[in-house]
Subunit: 459 residues, 2 copies
């Protein structure tokens, strides 16, 4: 591999890029091989381009296109499906240095470069009394470019939708190195095919987004938070279903017994270690309406035999419970290396999914914690394994696949918000059907006939 | 034309369709030549297939594909851009007889066939305490299939989004006659490319949607309504901008002086005929929050020199003002034949757009009424002309094009919610750019290489 990468003359590319953009020293490119999925099959890139602008991305893609070199687009590298793992002899195009933001309060929009972190966008627009809703748990470390590539979700999606609902426009570099602008600061626009929507969630397989126009909302109200614990998993999932049937909470999150204990190990906040399930719900309606919504959720939890229901007396206490939920992944990570799942089902099947995952955990003798954006039916089973224990690693892999097969059987999806990447690709056909997969490939063929954009990932 | 249509043997198609599905008698097919755009260039179809199910649509498309015959998909025929005008010797595939609906309150979804009218969907789900938000002004006569084909909007979109935000799944018949299922009753799903989103708004150029899974919301609260009149257009558009910058009303509609007078002619409800502009705003927040929002809108209107501001004392009065706004198109239609525009701009340019349209009206000596989904920057200039007056017809056509050029110049779109159809196609390249248009055509080429689906329309 090193032979071919050193044999290729990169000076035509280097000469058109700003100084320091092109990295080839393996000691420096190494960290661009993996995203947080830690794909064991990640390859070795021939170069990493740390682009500073659209033109840099165009230069790199044009160079690659002319030579048939694979391109792996990369945001902050926080992906959980291996969508940014390097391919051997590829050029990684990283957008981490493209970090500008221009906020337009009049149109309630922001023009953002892809390298800015989700949290940075939130903070920048908050200074104008505005709000960018999508909030992946990783919002402090993930970038907007990656969010757009995966159509990222989060906790508030149950009421406020996902990334695609907030993208009004973009500049995207296509597989031939040309750049196209789509959309604009227009709220409604149906001129031509909805290409903008096609690129959001395309995981870098159709183009590389170098600028995005985000729609913003007025700042949200401070939410009211409720926490409920249940001795029975079925009671908890039934409570979720009764809430989602008739209400629109601004958050409805779930943690199972393993997650509760992992978080309690770290926080010592006094969570009930015996509970089978914990729900965190929020209402962001105004004053008395929020109170009424929370009372209704409380009564639905109690009607479903909640062991304890606590309405947070103030915003800080409420935020502590949300922080506990957000901490679940790092807390479980202390128990071993994680294989992170992202399966979703229609909400009525949430209980069946969680029970089935427990069966898979037992059958494969691996610990699996389950957290979920319960109101969306989107779960994150966290499969814990010791990377030094080869047999356990194999069992974890087996469980990973069985969970996807289970979700498919329940009318679900193999990925609700993380993307297919490289790790989930073998299950995509079984999920969406061979005919839909063929349709995906016709689109891919139309936009990237040589297949240089993120090969092996997404579809 | 009749020669070629009679020369083609339709019996292979007739034999696989239920009795009465295939119509060839010109006396009966004639009404399928036009939609409400009354395209003067509409062709004469060789046949109309009144499909009863997905298999019928597949049979008709397969028959057409094998013979290179053009197919024009048609819903309720209420389109305003000529997207369903017939092409000579085409087969029109009409979905008006596909009218089933299956409501699933547990997942808050409905599986709907395309021929059901928007209003029928609303009523059916309301019986379960549920709500399908998108509400084109034509909701009593337009079908869900057409709504999906155009990504239809409406009045509530300013807060609740457009059709694409409510489509979770579909069955779509492709150009080769095969049928593919996309999505499902899953709220979040990023497995594979977002093909579902690609078909919503594709105006029948990529496939024919034969079933759609709609996401529903819990029933909305009864809104509170405010009406404000302004002696100055600039004051009115400034009020709109100050509202949208900081608030999310559930409706924010605009009528200009011509529309106000046309509606007053019909309703005699006492509208101020001298007003330059009338705004109708609603809040659907709960109780005191709605009152607070309406007070805030009231004060923003007053700060911008509103001549009169009226908060409707009850829901019926509020609904009467909304009905007046919905009546604007039929009311203006009494003054002559209409060329219906659908241009949108970033909200800060709304004033410039409306003023520019008045200039175009004067310059071309044709009456143009303007109504708008003001909060979205989406306007419907209604160009009035006498079809018997050829010169006036030419001036109306000139104005139609000039309005689109004006909108493009203001960073806007030639169509916010009606679609490009056949009438707006000449302006599409100028609107989205030749590169984006080429990208549209690559997608079209990939999915319909022979170009049989709705040729001449959409892109």
């Amino acid at each position: 591999m090193d032979v071919s990468s050193t044999s290729l003359d990169l000076t035509p590319l280097e000469s058109v890029l700003p100084e320091g953009c092109l990295i080839t020293d393996p000691a420096r490119t190494d960290k661009y091989r993996w995203d947080r999925a830690l794909d064991p099959n990640a390859g070795v890139p021939m170069a990493v381009v740390r682009a500073t602008c659209t033109a840099d991305v165009q230069a790199a893609v044009s160079f690659a296109a002319a030579r048939g070199i694979a391109v792996v687009p990369r945001g902050a590298g926080t992906g959980l499906s291996g969508g940014a793992s390097a391919v051997t002899d590829c050029i990684v195009i990283c957008t981490e240095r493209m970090r500008s933001i221009e906020i337009d309060p009049l149109t309630r929009t922001a023009v953002v470069e892809p390298g800015l972190l989700n949290a940075e966008v939130k903070r920048a627009v908050a200074a104008h009394g505005l709000w960018y809703p999508p909030d992946p748990s990783s919002y402090e470390i993930c970038s907007i470019g990656g969010n757009v590539a995966t159509n990222a979700g989060g906790l508030c999606c149950v009421k406020y939708g996902v990334t695609t609902d907030y993208v009004l426009g973009m500049t995207v570099v296509l597989a031939d190195g040309s750049a196209v602008k789509l959309g604009g600061k227009r709220i409604k626009d149906v001129a031509g095919l909805p290409l903008l929507k096609l690129f959001v969630g395309s995981e870098g397989t159709l183009g590389i987004v170098t600028e995005v126009i985000l729609r913003l909302l007025p700042a949200p109200r401070t939410p009211t938070t409720l926490v409920a614990t249940f001795a029975s998993l079925d009671d908890a999932t039934r409570a979720v279903l009764e809430v989602t049937q008739s209400m629109r909470p601004s958050m409805l999150e779930f943690m199972d017994n393993v997650s509760i204990n992992a978080v309690e190990d770290v926080t010592k906040m006094g969570l009930d270690r015996s509970a089978e399930a914990l729900l965190v719900a929020q209402s962001d309606e105004a004053d008395s309406t929020a109170a009424a919504e929370i009372i209704r959720i409380e009564s639905l939890c109690e009607a479903n035999n909640a062991a304890e229901v606590l309405v947070a007396p103030d915003a800080e206490t409420g935020e502590a419970f949300v922080a506990a939920r957000r901490m679940a992944i790092p807390a479980v990570e202390r128990r071993g290396t994680l294989l992170l799942e992202d399966v979703g089902v229609p909400v009525p099947h949430l209980g069946g999914l969680v029970r089935g995952i427990a069966d898979i955990s037992r059958a494969n003798d691996v610990e699996i914690a389950v957290i979920a954006h319960a109101g969306d039916g989107n779960t994150h089973p966290l499969i814990v394994f010791d990377p030094m224990d080869a047999d356990q690693g194999r069992r974890a892999q087996a469980a990973y696949g069985e969970i996807m097969t289970l979700a498919i059987g329940l009318g679900g999806t193999i990925t609700g918000e993380h993307g297919v990447g490289r790790l989930k690709r073998p299950w995509l056909g079984a999920n969406i059907g061979d005919d839909a997969l063929a349709l995906n490939r016709r689109i891919k063929q139309a936009l990237d006939p040589a297949g240089i954009l993120n090969p092996g990932s997404g579809l």
